[in-house]
Amino acid sequence: MKSIHNTVKAQFSQHAEYYAQSTAHAKGDTLDVILEFAEPKGTEQVLDIATGTGFTAFAFAPNVANVIATDLTAEMLVKAAELAQEQAIPNVAFSLAAAEALPFASASYDLVTCRLAPHHFQDVPAFLSEVHRVLRQNGLFCMVDSVSPESEELIRWQNRVETLRDDSHVYGYPPSQWDAMITAAGFTIERFAHARNAQMSFLWWVRPEKNPPAVVREIRDAFAQLSPDEAKAHYTVRPVGEDFYFSWPMYAVKARRC
């Protein structure tokens, strides 16, 4: 567990400013979906796991009693705390924490959120077990993350491509495996939604400033190996000159703690 935690910290400690300014993380359908699923009433104690620079926590704060926002990376939380002060958000507090070992008393929260992060987690069943522990009876867990298609071949392909680009990527499960793990952890799934992130330029996404040309080429070759049907149906690949645009499939779940 320690090694991937260090890889994640190393990856994200360099990118707090990038995430703070990233419209892909600040806005978009995935935040809307998680807000709609949660239906906050104003009285909730909320935990936002792997908050990054705090976008999900800040979106919930005006609609709930309190938000505690955690992340594995200090630089992210320092930036989040700065943004919270700038925006004068009074009911959000921060703690460094690993998703698999949460530093909270059992049955402390009414709602736990987690957005665009579990594919970086070392141990998703341990994370889900901890979410179950810190939620009160009938509490809600609302998450959204990038997922793989329901195909062994594409699960392997997508995780290989993601790991080549970013070694803090651990694993993107398909929706069916998420459902099985969430149910096994003691939740009842009440709603789910399939979504996608906004289309991204490959030449931007592949981070040519960080990844050497050989790696960029390997990832580009991997995309070229997809059949045209797979590329279009699963990843919305659309050529634009020397570049191409694509998106990842996303899966959102609303689950109630039994």
Binding site: K2, H5, Q45, N66, I68, L72, A74, L77, V78, A81, A84, Q85, P90, N91, A93, F94, S95, L96, A97, A98, A101, L102, P103, F104, A105, S106, S108
Partner: protein, 63 residues
């Protein structure tokens, strides 16, 4: 929210913090600026930039 230092240490947070290792209760040692497990393991967690560092591998173990 009187200062940046106290920002992360809201009363709400302190009330529900627990040791991530043994899940024991946490006490705030204000003199040492540490969060101390009152349970079995008695780990001591640092506070940096006003934010609790509740990571098992960054805690001090009682000698």
């Amino acid at each position: 929210m009187n200062s940046e230092k106290s920002y992360g240490l809201s009363e709400t947070l302190l009330e529900i913090l627990a040791c991530p290792a043994c899940k024991g209760e946490i006490a705030h040692d204000e003199a040492e600026e540490k969060l101390v497990c009152q349970g079995e393991c008695q780990r001591r967690y640092p506070i940096r930039d006003g934010i609790p560092v509740m990571l098992i591998d960054e805690a001090e173990l009682q000698s």
